[in-house]
């Protein structure tokens, strides 16, 4: 799809979510994908995003991510909610406890607490089908039960653009729906769009001393790739020819087989 087509489809999805749910929010890691989703939301609503933006803070993020977050939140006038699992953080949970445990506690549970507190019935997320096999199986509107579980064996019928939004009483029962506005985008599309639209990105994506981050997560579990791409143009060029997977530098996907599926079944992004 061309960028225009991708953008149209995403805006359609965002507006559908806003019309169908009572209390939506968008998740923002400050990475390239979720920043693109914020840019699309700004377009969909003519500048002002009419719902909160949630940032899950594990305490292990890169310093540059926090700086970037606060700058953009200010520039774009975001209604920013910072979600932290204080209890786990105080107990000292970290990657040393195992990546599965750490991601579940500091990310999934932090998000769960935030959702319960604010009663959100829909969450916009910037996952893409081409990132990971398990994400390729997602629906655009994807329900989660009160325990956050993803029933991937019985996903809704989702034909044409008729997404299943069961909104009534969702926030009361603790069920929510994940909404995926850029599910149909590829990594290269995101960068081409960032370039076209002049979307701000975290400086960690650009190469320094022959290395750059291709996917951003928590500092201890994210490693850079070898690259000399110092500009968006150079990143686009690199992606056209690379044979390395995007999440190659993300440790939590790889600890063991089907790790990502297990994380996601429990409500991971």
């Amino acid at each position: 799809m061309g960028l225009k087509e991708l953008e149209n489809k995403s805006i359609y999805i965002i507006r559908e979510a806003y019309a169908e749910f009572e209390n939506p929010a968008v998740l923002w890691s400050t990475g390239k994908d979720s920043t693109t989703v914020l840019a699309l939301c700004r377009k969909a609503f003519f500048g002002k995003i009419p719902f909160p933006v949630i940032h899950i803070d594990t305490g292990y993020k890169f310093k540059q991510m926090y700086e970037f977050r606060d700058r953009i939140a200010d520039e774009w006038g975001l209604d920013l909610i910072i979600a932290r699992n204080e209890e786990a953080m105080n107990a000292g949970v970290g990657p040393g406890d195992g990546k599965f445990e750490c991601c579940t506690k500091l990310k999934t549970e932090a998000l769960m607490q935030c959702l319960n507190k604010h009663g959100f019935d829909a969450l916009l997320l910037a996952i893409r089908r081409d990132e990971h096999g398990i994400r390729a199986k997602e629906r655009v509107f994807s329900p989660r039960d009160e325990e956050f579980r993803w029933n991937y064996r019985d996903q809704p019928l989702e034909m044409w653009d008729q997404y299943q939004a069961q909104s009534e009483g969702q926030s009361e029962t603790g069920i929510h729906t994940r909404v995926h506005p850029i599910l149909h985008w590829r990594e290269l599309d995101v960068w081409e769009y960032i370039k076209q639209e002049n979307i701000p990105v975290n400086p960690l994506y650009f190469a320094r001393d022959g290395k750059r981050y291709r996917s951003l997560g928590c500092e201890p579990c994210t490693s850079p790739i070898d690259s000399n791409a110092k500009t968006i143009d150079e990143i686009v060029e690199e992606l056209r020819t690379t044979k390395i997977a995007e999440r190659a530098g993300r440790a939590q996907d790889k600890e063991k087989a089907f790790m990502m599926q297990k994380l996601r079944a429990l409500g991971y992004m």
Binding site: R139, M159, Q162, K243
Partner: protein, 403 residues
């Protein structure tokens, strides 16, 4: 050009393997993924399979079958493809329909060993209902029948019979082996008797039609931005121009497009697929559909549709919800004219009191005022889903109405 392709066919006829092979031979798979699959195959003591690129659920690997649909993108020398794999089991028809609903063309995968099976027929029937007109038939597993022309010809004759019974023109047939890579991306040297295109050559020859249609703008919402009311929605068909006289139904509002607005500013016109805001100085609401005064949309309160049911049952006289475009209306199953076997496409009962899971039927729906179109004319507004207790339980197309 972007082409959306869906692979359909009976379980174990090799759909996932074929897509894995297409991705692998077109060099669309990252090295790391290949290594990951090799490792996984070892761990689970299995032979390396191309299907594992697609079947990413642990259950899928254990059960050796596809459970849910998956879409992957790759590029040939000519086109960008989104290729969709769907499960071949009857119990996952819901996932098959989800995957097939965005396709421009289909590849029917049929095993040269087994020929036509239950899901071969059902998938073809459903594709026909969804309006997918072009079907390529990949006669797979030719390696298992020693690449014999005779076997290919037999399967071809068998499939042609099914195709014509569903009203399809004669299909395009390609003898392939997804496992060995014959005639998928590379021309096979083991079937010199075959002179037609490889699968990728056949797909590269596809043209996605763009028929001229009247304007239909579906309303998603109305926003107030700096004191101004902006009606947001999508141009489903035709062209929207500033200054056009328009009518919105079922609200029955006649007005003029005073402005077309996007975040960046004003537009003179918007074309099919564009999501824009419009200024019309009138109150319309979500579910309304706009068209020009010359060719306006016409609301109906009754129409004839063909639908397939994925929920438990549907009874004559039952009240359910129906969604078309952004409209959600209450409707009644006024009359079930014919119950159709979704495997054979044959009418099995006239005027039944109910239909059951996986049945298709022609149904007269009585609805709250609703803008729909004949599927054959404006497909974007000629298809609908049926909703019961908040769940999508069926889907269908509009055959006719008293417009």
């Amino acid at each position: 050009m972007n082409v959306n392709v869906v692979l359909v066919g009976h379980v174990d006829h090799g759909k996932s393997t074929m897509i894995g092979r297409l991705l692998y031979d077109s060099e669309s798979i990252k090295d790391e993924r290949v290594e990951e699959i090799q490792k996984l195959a070892e761990e689970y003591k299995r032979r390396f399979e191309f299907a594992y690129f697609l079947d990413s659920f642990e259950d899928e690997l254990k059960e050796e079958r596809t459970i849910d649909t998956v879409s992957l993108m790759f590029k040939s020398e000519k086109n960008y493809y989104t290729i969709t794999d769907v499960p071949g089991h009857k119990e996952f028809i819901k996932n098959m329909l989800t995957g097939a609903s965005h396709a421009h063309v289909a590849v029917l995968v049929v095993s040269a060993e087994e020929g036509v099976q239950e899901q071969t027929r059902r998938h073809l029937f459903l594709l026909k209902m969804l309006g997918i007109k072009e079907v390529f038939v990949a006669v797979n597993k030719m390696d298992a029948v020693d690449y014999k022309k005779e076997r290919f010809e037999n399967v071809k004759a068998e499939i042609n019979e099914v195709l014509s019974s569903f009203g399809y023109p004669t299909g395009h047939f390609i003898p392939v082996s997804a496992m060995e890579g014959d005639n998928i991306y590379r021309r096979s040297e083991r079937m010199e008797w075959y002179e037609g295109p490889t699968l990728i050559e056949a797909l590269d020859g596809v043209t996605v039609e763009g028929k001229e249609k009247p304007l239909r703008f579906v309303v998603q919402d109305v926003y107030e931005v700096e004191g101004e009311k902006i009606v947001v929605g999508r141009v489903e068909s035709g062209i929207l121009r500033r200054g056009d006289g328009v009518i919105f139904e079922p609200s029955g509002i006649r007005t003029k497009i005073e402005g077309i607005r996007v975040f960046e500013g004003e537009l003179e016109e918007a074309t099919t697929g564009d999501c824009v805001g419009i200024l019309i100085g009138e109150e319309v609401k979500r579910g309304d559909v706009g068209g020009t005064v010359e060719k306006p949309p016409k609301p109906v309160e009754e129409f004839l549709g063909e639908a397939v049911l994925l929920g438990k049952n549907l009874k004559k006289g039952e009240q359910i919800e129906l969604r078309c475009g952004t409209a959600k209306v209450r409707c009644e199953i006024k009359e079930i004219k014919e119950k159709i076997d979704s495997e054979t496409g044959e009418v099995v009962e006239r005027n039944p009191d109910e239909i059951n899971e996986h049945d298709a039927a022609t149904i007269v729906f009585a609805t709250e005022p609703l803008v729909i179109e004949k599927f054959a004319e404006i497909p974007e507004l000629g298809r609908f889903v049926l909703v019961k207790n908040g769940r999508n339980i069926g889907a269908g197309v509009v055959l006719d109405a008293n417009f």
